[in-house]
């Protein structure tokens, strides 16, 4: 099974407080810690486990600037065979459809049976996987939390739907799946793992390599555009309890008693 996993370099929201710049043009990026989008780790782990069972190879791809190379390498260190970086000034500002078009061009240079993405990333859009499948005219399943390879032509997948129920489907290959967290336990990548892949060359493909016209992607080709970032006017929000740890605890106990929170 030839598997491509699409990953994204994102600000690590567990490590950072996200602040909006005062002019609204972006978030404050100066001291941000970046990492691989959490969902993508599960997708890479799943791809590696499938290949361990049925054979094949795993390729990691991302669309981004040169700094995105580090996330490709980090995911390769998990045990993927190849990596490729899709990078070009013309790609900057792409909307979901633009990203899907860029990925499609790379996919059509090879012969993949399965393409995985994370179910969600930092922009909360959950869109590129479904758009990519539609552009390729391949079947798609989203929020997948179980995969079983049936034979060379089809796989069985479970989608995690509302209420924690599982929707079982049989889907033909080639297909695109978006992977939900919890499908597996992504392996730990240590310094030694990173070192092993440190010297592997990661090819960079731009618009010309992919045969993409420069004005069909990026800001020029985007139909959907982010105008600005802002911090929403909140309602009242929570009453924040102030004071020493002791004083806060005392206030909270009184409130909990009044609301029936302490039996």
């Amino acid at each position: 099974m030839e598997i491509l996993v699409c990953v994204k370099r994102v600000p690590d929201t567990a490590e950072n407080e996200i602040e909006v710049r005062s002019d609204g043009t972006d978030i404050e990026r100066d001291d941000l810690v970046y990492s691989v989008n959490e969902w993508d780790n599960y997708a890479v782990e799943e791809a590696i486990q499938i290949c361990d069972k049925v054979g094949g190879s795993v390729t990691i791809v991302t669309v981004g600037d040169e700094e995105s190379e580090e996330v490709v390498r980090r995911e390769m260190a998990m045990g993927a065979d190849k990596g490729v970086l899709l990078s070009d000034d013309a790609f900057i500002g792409s909307d979901g459809k633009g990203l899907a078009a860029i990925l499609k061009a790379e996919i059509q240079k090879s012969s993949y049976d399965l393409v995985l993405t994370g179910a969600l990333a930092d922009d909360g859009a959950s869109q590129v996987g479904g758009m990519l499948a539609a552009i390729l005219d391949w079947p798609y399943a989203s929020v997948v939390n179980y995969i079983e390879v049936l034979d060379d032509t089809k796989i069985k997948v479970s989608r995690e739907i509302e209420g924690g129920n599982q929707e079982m489907n049989e889907i033909e290959l080639p297909c695109v799946l978006s992977i939900q967290t919890g499908i597996n336990e992504p392996r730990y990548v240590g310094i030694r793992g990173i070192r092993k892949v440190a010297s592997i060359e990661i090819p960079v493909h731009g618009a010309a390599d992919l045969g993409i016209s420069r004005d069909s992607v990026g800001t020029a080709g985007a139909i959907v555009k982010r105008v600005d970032y802002f911090v929403p006017e909140l309602g009242e929000g929570a009453e924040i309890l102030e004071g020493s740890l002791d004083e806060i605890a005392e206030k909270l106990i009184e409130l909990l008693k009044a609301k029936g929170g302490i039996k």
Partner: protein
């Protein structure tokens, strides 16, 4: 000229999803005077009862009855909608697991724009629709503009649009079943496997002590368990705790877990994603403990404690024990 507006109505067991009434509101924010058509797919008596109920809120209801549409397979529905929706239309879906499954690809097939997970809509200016979205788990909001002259597919976040309960549409139900075309797809729905039932039923608890990523380590779950024991509560959690296998799935609060209706909800180290809050109903008294003052949970909580829960919660438990 205003474009044709459609809303796809999800339903279960003969009852329309809550989002059905929310999409009426969302559509009204695009074109205040628009006549919105509800699109309902399914089969038999369940479909009829949903169509009748929805007609109270939508001036027109297109009903598509076919045994192959009895379960909403996203792949089948996408192919079907491509053939059934006129070019250039505006189509609304709920941003739920069905909407996420079929809407992005539908926009490609219709060659229209796509706006996922809208939390508010500001209206249309020229060819541009203006929408509000959120990024970074709700820590930043964005204004988004998109050219809708070729139509647009929008998924609306459940719970973000006030449901329109006016029920004054007295809509007409149009049976379009004869127009159902080819329903073949390369993905076959097999069955729904119900979530496992756990040892505790968090849906029946009056007081929940709920833990999230801020608990940091499996061993620290004890801190929550001890507080729960002391105040007579039950321990629940958010998704990352289940992903890490620190607690069983049946304890997860959220759209992909359980829907709970406690009187008091203590959210410990939970950031408060909309997927988590979607499982919290009945307006409980919410206490949030989180060391990040920007955590979205503080927007919905009644009382907030900006402290490291690993320090604060043991101190709180100790104090309650002292009486």
């Amino acid at each position: 000229m205003a474009q044709q507006l459609f809303a796809y109505i999800g339903h279960k067991n003969g009852v329309a999803d809550d989002s059905a009434m929310e999409l009426v509101t969302a559509a009204g924010k695009i074109y205040p005077d628009a006549s919105v058509t509800a699109v309902i797919t399914g089969s038999g008596a369940e479909l009829d009862s949903v169509s009748n109920a929805v007609a109270a809120s939508y001036p027109e209801v297109w009903k598509f009855d076919n045994a192959a549409l009895a379960y909403p397979n996203g792949e089948v529905l996408r192919n079907f909608l491509v053939n059934s929706i006129p070019a250039g239309a505006i189509i609304l879906f709920a941003h739920d697991t069905l909407g996420m499954d079929l809407a992005p690809g539908l926009s490609i097939k219709l060659d229209s724009a796509f706006v996922p997970d809208a939390v508010d809509i500001e209206g249309v200016e020229g060819n541009d629709l203006k929408v509000i979205r959120q990024e970074y788990s709700g820590m930043a909001s964005t204004h988004v503009r998109c050219d809708i002259s070729n139509g647009v597919v929008i998924t609306c976040r459940p719970g973000s649009f006030q449901p329109d309960e006016s029920k004054s549409a007295a809509g007409q139900i149009v049976d379009k079943s004869a127009e159902v075309g080819d329903l073949s797809a390369k993905r076959r729905f097999l069955e729904v496997v119900a979530a496992e039932v756990g040892d505790v039923d968090i849906t029946k608890a009056d007081v929940l002590v709920s833990v999230g990523r801020g608990i940091e380590d499996e061993e620290n779950i004890e801190i929550a368990e001890e507080l729960a024991q002391t105040i007579g509560a039950v321990v629940s959690c958010s998704r990352p705790i289940v992903d890490a296998k620190w607690l069983e799935k049946s304890r997860q609060v959220g759209t992909s877990g359980q829907t709970v209706k406690p009187k008091v909800y203590l959210a410990l180290g939970i950031s408060g994603s909309f997927q988590h809050l979607g499982g919290l109903k009945g307006s409980p008294f919410i206490v949030a403990v989180n060391k990040n003052p920007k955590a979205p949970i503080f927007q919905v909580a009644d009382v907030g404690v900006v402290q490291d829960l690993l320090e604060f919660v043991p101190a709180l438990t100790e104090k309650i024990k002292e009486g």
